[in-house]
Symmetry: C2
Subunit: 204 residues, 2 copies
């Protein structure tokens, strides 16, 4: 397998993190934001839909969408809940991540971190994203006040997916994670799992 | 099963449409946008995460997130591709739907259709959504120029999911569907499937 991933991106990190937990070998092609290599990849058309990450299988087939790649890799392993209702809960969190969480938590971080986006970070937009992000983190916090993991009694593909942008919501996004103690405890639980790697633990 | 759904909402329609195709009986609780019944449902806390649709199972367990409910219902049927790569493609479209498509195609329609949102429909916002929506429809059109269905050789849960807001992108959202002939042909293919129901074919 070959993974085309953006080192600094949470969506790409999700896939690298699950691959590390699964112990699967793969070739890594880093394509950083605003890099020459990414511009060349776009120009050559090797990225379907023009987005990262992309997982290229041995037969040349390419899979897009981080959470769909997670499901593909997790199917049949302990990371995908076998119980249909628990699986629906895991998928529910992952669709929620793409619909509610990523467009606020990740977007505010990107506006702060990537130089080319800073001109879009108007005070009004940043204040609105801050309020919406705290509401979103509050929803996770309320749920995690009653549960150790997002779906079922152990870690799943949903925890991998939500961890990617949540763990850096404070440092990169400027959100006040200290208000959400159950989220902070869950972040620590995910990071303490055997086989965990950080966002910058990039394969050679 | 009991389905709490918003009659006018595409996310709710997705689930009603798949339930019709599967021929599964269910009790329907309609909770229309801006209705007294929906306000009461919110106040009584019967909707986890406060969103619709919600599928309540016989054991009282409630599932949220339209696309996760679709996966739960489709698993083990012809609507969920059995091949892992094709399944990943179907899920990829559904995550894309929640991340890219719904926040533009559905949001622009909601700004036009729901009276309480019209004050948010500034000319700048509507123009931006129009451009982004045409780009999104263009991505679907390019893909559907080479394929009859979104994942694999037959209709799947991905077609149900994407159909919900795409079929009314012109009439409700004001997008120029005429520019996207492959999308229009695909909309007609989905609507011609045996067992198809329209958004307003609401169960008694």
């Amino acid at each position: 397998m070959t993974l085309y991933s953006m080192p600094s991106s949470g969506n790409s990190y999700k896939v690298r993190l699950l691959l590390a937990h699964l112990g699967l070998p793969y070739r890594h092609v880093p394509l950083e934001f605003e890099s020459e290599a990414l511009a060349e990849a776009h120009a050559s058309g090797i990225l379907p839909f023009g987005k990262l990450p992309v997982l290229e299988l041995e037969n040349g087939k390419k899979l897009a969408e981080s959470n769909a790649i997670l499901c593909y890799l997790a199917d049949g392993t302990d990371w995908m809940p076998a119980d249909p209702v628990t699986r629906a809960e895991a998928l529910g969190w992952m669709f929620w991540e793409q619909n509610q969480h990523e467009g606020v938590i990740a977007v505010r971080a990107a506006l702060q971190v990537y130089a080319s986006r800073r001109h879009l970070a108007t005070p009004e937009r940043m204040a609105s994203l801050l309020d919406r992000g705290h509401d979103i983190l509050g929803q996770m916090d309320a749920y995690l006040s009653r549960r150790q993991w997002l779906a079922g009694d152990g870690p799943s593909v949903a925890d991998i997916s939500l961890y990617a942008y949540t763990h850096s919501a404070g440092t990169k996004g400027g959100f006040d994670l200290g208000r959400f103690g159950h989220v902070v405890a869950w972040v620590e639980r995910v990071a303490a799992l055997p086989g965990h790697i950080g966002l910058w633990d990039i394969p050679e």
